[in-house]
Amino acid sequence: MSVLTRIGHRLRTVGGLLRFFMHRQRFFFLPLLLVLLVAGLLLAATGGLSYVAPFVYTLF
């Protein structure tokens, strides 16, 4: 799947998230959403959390 398709998927999920919070209709979710946004940006900026195992194989 192309990068564009993947980005498209991600955007759809973000849209779903926004719709979910709006559906809840509680005003204090707006700051929560803001927190999410900033956290998401921080995550993207610091390179995410991809897992690279220390190769313990060398001992066995």
């Binding site: 979910f20 929560l32 959390l49």
Partner: protein
């Protein structure tokens, strides 16, 4: 033709289930294929194995249904982190990193990983998928449905009404008040691994006396309407700590038990822990009875369906059957999170206009054996292999000669118990068999009981409390009749109970035949049945797993399909 794939993943026990034209075709847990116990990662292997079994491909799938709402989950995680401010500062980066870095995007990852259009991937709510997994496969036209687990999105306990093909949610108890997390916290306190150790705690409970009622009354406050509340000062799951219990709990019940210290129930210390386990079990049973009472009041049906991790507590299930106003109870074998995949698939099929599937009659829904490969690899490994005309007779002969025999026949089981598809069998009358199995082959704690498999037709001769709905799937306990306690010593627990599998010809054909053969030998169609896996491993599934087990553990013989493999070359 409608093809629906259900998926559960990311937290514990990932699984995939395939429903074609409203009928269950395959259901497989990812751990069986990845060989990592309780594997939570996205079950792509299980999904392709399911499709392979049906002779289908990804492009034939109409809908993929994920078993919970990732947005609601994220909402709950955030709310929970904020509520316990500032103690959650350590978990905040980790939890949000995990949610935003991976778990929120599960729908996209499924679409991409399976090669399905994103608009075909949907989700349902966690408890609804649990409720569907039990009610829609049950033999009941109407039933009360009780889902009790650690937590879904927000709900940790819910009551549904099931009627025909419709499920209606009625009430729920929300996180952080959770019977599942309560049990898990004490499981961790006793030194076991959470989500794996609960079953062991249930077995340990029979060795203790419930003398900490007053202390436990402080932990869990049960109300008259069946609901309950936890005193959160004793717990830590809402703060996000792994253990789930606070120092205050340790000052109440004493210090926690260090994990992996060998158990010795002769010591006062371990006896104290057994008493804690016994109290936990009793309190949980009473809470479940209260919930069942409320479910009956709300729904009024004579039938009850149970799901969620706590439904794997078969001792509690037996009490509900005996003491509540319900006549029949059904518990789907994969009552934990893996079952959500099946429920999700069934709900997806309903949305496409399908009706309910036939009632579940066997748990053999998994991976099939590649017998020609098994023969070739076994020969290549230098094992003594021969083809047998009657597999059941060959096994019975070995059992009668006091041997421990592994059997692998047909598709692997759905759920955590081995039900005759990937089992280790032995005659229960042999005293040293239990010792040998527990110590050498399975390397389990000394207090873990073994379970008997008995032919369903003659089960009531030997056991009390065998029912027709739960016993075929080993989701309840029975008691051993006085007259047979001596000879069935190896499969009787210290409180005279036994986790019986009532075997039908439809449920496990080979095992049923073997039991008939054993009855011809000693008039008792009962064998000791334990799962075909070593310590810390998932149950064997493919032919390679089965052979690998034989190569690493000293069982006497192995039947795989119609091939008998013996020691010595």
């Amino acid at each position: 033709m409608s093809v629906v794939l259900g998926i559960s993943a990311l937290y514990h026990d990932a699984a995939a289930a395939l429903v074609v034209d409203g009928e269950i075709v395959a259901a497989i847990q990812e751990e069986r294929l990845s060989r990592i116990k309780n594997d939570p990662s996205l079950p792509f292997r299980a999904a392709s194995a399911c499709l392979h079994r049906a002779g289908l491909e990804a492009r034939d799938i109409d809908t993929v249904v994920y078993y919970e709402n990732p947005y609601a989950k994220l909402e709950r995680v955030l709310l929970s982190l904020m509520r316990a401010f500032p103690r959650t500062w350590r978990q905040f980066p980790r939890a949000l990193g995990s949610q935003l870095g991976s778990k929120l995007w599960v729908i996209d990852q499924l679409a991409e990983g399976l090669g399905v259009e994103r608009k075909r991937v949907e989700f349902v709510s966690h408890h609804e998928s649990h409720a569907a997994s039990t009610f829609l496969c049950s033999p009941f036209e109407d039933a009360a449905v009780l889902v009790v687990d650690a937590v879904g999105e927000h709900a940790s306990t819910s009551i549904y009404r099931g009627k025909g093909a419709a499920l209606t949610g009625l009430q729920s108890v929300d996180y952080p008040h959770s019977l599942g997390l309560f049990y898990a916290a004490i499981t961790a306190f006793l030194g076991f691994r959470v989500n794996e150790g609960e079953y062991k705690v249930m077995g340990l409970a029979a060795y203790g006396t419930p003398r900490y009622r007053d202390e436990f009354a402080k932990l869990l406050l049960a109300k008259d309407d069946g609901s309950y509340k936890l005193d959160l000062t004793y717990f830590a799951h809402h703060i996000g700590v792994e253990n789930g219990f606070s120092r205050k709990l340790e000052s109440l019940l004493g210090p926690r038990r260090p994990s992996h210290r060998p158990w010795n129930l002769g010591t006062d210390e371990d006896q104290h822990y057994a008493n804690v386990a016994a109290t936990l079990q009793l309190v949980t049973e009473e809470a479940m009875l209260g919930l069942a009472r409320q479910a009956h009041t709300l729904v009024g049906s004579a039938n009850l369906c149970l799901a969620g991790g706590v439904a794997l507590n078969c001792v509690a299930n037996a009490r509900i059957l005996a003491e509540s106003q319900f006549d029949r109870i059904f518990v789907q074998p994969a009552a934990g999170d893996a079952g959500g995949a099946l429920g999700a698939a069934l709900l997806g099929a309903q949305r496409l206009g399908e009706g309910r599937p036939k009632a579940l009659s066997t748990a053999a829904l998994g991976v099939e054996l590649d017998l020609s490969r098994a023969l070739n690899v076994a020969t290549e490994m230098g094992l003594r292999v021969r083809r047998v005309d009657s597999p059941a007779d060959a096994v019975t002969a070995k059992l009668a000669a006091k041997r421990i025999v592994g059997i692998a026949s047909g598709p692997s089981e759905w759920g955590p118990r081995a039900l005759g598809q990937r089992s280790i069998l032995a005659l229960p009358q042999e005293r040293d068999v239990r010792e040998r199995l527990n110590r050498v082959i399975k390397e389990r704690e000394v207090f873990r009981p073994f379970a008997p498999a008995v032919s369903a037709e003659r089960s009531s001769e030997f056991f009390l409390g065998v029912d027709g709905d739960m016993s075929p799937f080993m989701t309840t306990v029975c008691s051993v009749r006085e007259a047979h306690m001596e000879s069935l010593h190896a499969v009787t627990h210290v409180d005279q109970s036994a986790r019986v599998q009532a075997v039908t010809a439809q449920g496990a054909p080979l095992l049923h035949e073997i039991l008939a053969g054993v009855a011809r030998h000693n008039d008792m169609p009962i064998v000791l049945n334990t799962s075909l896996n070593g310590r810390g491993e998932p149950i064997a599934a493919s032919a390679t797993d089965v052979l690998s087990f034989f190569a690493r553990h000293p069982i006497d013989a192995l039947l795989i399909g119609d091939l008998m493999i013996e020691r010595g070359s």
